[in-house]
Symmetry: C2
Subunit: 241 residues, 2 copies
DNA sequence: TCAAAAGTGTTTTGTGTACACCCATGC
DNA sequence: GCATGGGTGTACACAAAACACTTTTGA
């Protein structure tokens, strides 16, 4: 986090742990995208010497007059140019030594964006999309944060119509299935997948077909307008007996 | 939170929101217990004038050299005398005006304790157990935090053997069922409940029976020693097709 | 005519749910 | 002997999983 707050080397800005009440709060955004049949995450090269060569999540310190979510939306807007983005808090990470400059507690969010969105503008050529499965080591505890957010995403997509935030407005069932497969890391049976999706009643046939595909084109669908892209808060859930 | 950090009236300690980087971090613990067939939560009367008469969760500011979980365990130890307690982070709450004294971001945890535990010592007669279902209004945003933690607990108990932290070491199946019913707020069928629990293979017959009950005594069980009371992190979960 | 994916149904298996009776104990 | 809860099994409905063939299109 805090990539553009002027932190350069941690040693310079080392904050004494003895100083009472000197805790900074940041938000870190795990920005997921989907492209070339892979789930990707938007990362930046860390500007801290301690982590030279390593990638880090996009984050920043939270301003005292700023809501946590506002800070996350601000980061998303600054980094991607996008406004109306799916965002969900995952949890806080607060290990004492997670940040070499001092005590920084971070609140992790994940967000889902459509990589092909026409408004997407990466503000900085240090920003890159990385396939989630290829990522080994990251700055800070960001690998842990990424893994935690991915797990949360995997849970969410089973119950809530959130993956559509990763796709263009119109998509085929094959695209949707490949997206589920890349998030879950498993292969799914086509017939069972289609049956299950149609039971959820999330989709609306837009009456168009795929174009420029080297095979039989599939129908295109979009999310039903009655379906919120934001999750509805879960109820107690199925009862055990 | 911050009940015993010397905050008395918020106005006195009002921190300007314009002051850059003056954010405090607290943890708040939703301490669940189970007694008299009701799920209860341990609360304290708020010592802030703004919330006079209202109850609040147990919390405190996080020290700069203290891990978030350590702070939660410290609160639990201070308030209940208990050491080895089930604790799980839920999420952060960071609305700008959630605390009248200034910007305080809090990380919410829930914990599960056995009210009948012989080591339980409530340090303060301002502390009281309240039936979760009777709670209407609380100080700060603590009702929201409580509701969020209760939802999380309801999800957890369906998959993980965590409720046993709320019970004495030995318990009957009826006790266990009543506990599930009080957490979920529903009635369960006895035969189905027993079938489902036995499928989970969490329990071990201790070879003893209930005593001093005015009816046929039931068998007593305990959690299998191979079952961790702490949750095992979930995998991707059942795959959709 | 071939390659590639679209589209489609049935069977089996497991899980959730509804439901009723006899049994053991304390009083 | 009565009240209370203990303990058990079966039938139905629905969801999940396994599985194969024909159709459509572009090259």
């Amino acid at each position: 986090m805090a990539q553009h707050t002027g932190l350069k080397t941690a040693a310079i800005e080392k904050i004494s742990h003895l100083e009472y009440f000197n805790i900074a709060v940041s938000v870190d955004c795990v920005i997921f995208g989907y492209d070339e049949k892979e789930l990707k995450v938007l990362l930046i090269k860390s500007d801290l010497e301690e982590f030279s060569g390593l990638d880090s999540l996009l984050g920043d310190l939270v301003r005292p007059d700023e809501h946590l979510e506002t800070a996350s939306y601000r980061i998303l807007k600054e980094r991607t140019g996008l406004d109306d983005v799916y965002l969900e808090q995952v949890q806080a990470f607060g290990s004492i030594n997670r940040h070499p400059s001092g005590r920084v507690i971070t609140i992790a969010y994940y967000s889902l964006i459509d990589i092909s969105h026409h408004k997407l503008r990466l503000d900085n050529n240090e920003l890159n999309w990385h396939p989630v499965n290829d990522i080994r080591k990251m700055a800070f505890d960001h690998k842990l944060i990424l893994d935690t957010c991915l797990k949360r995403l995997q849970q969410q997509i089973m119950n809530q119509p959130v993956v559509f935030n990763l796709l263009p407005e119109k998509f085929s069932l094959r695209q949707l299935q490949e997206l589920y497969e890349s998030i879950l890391g498993v292969e799914l049976d086509r017939r069972n997948f289609r049956k299950k999706i149609s039971l959820k009643d999330w989709l609306q046939d837009v009456g168009e077909m795929e174009e420029d595909v080297p095979h039989r084109p599939g129908k295109l669908y979009k999310l039903k307008t009655s379906q919120p892209k934001k999750p509805v808060r879960k109820k107690a859930g199925a009862v055990s007996a």
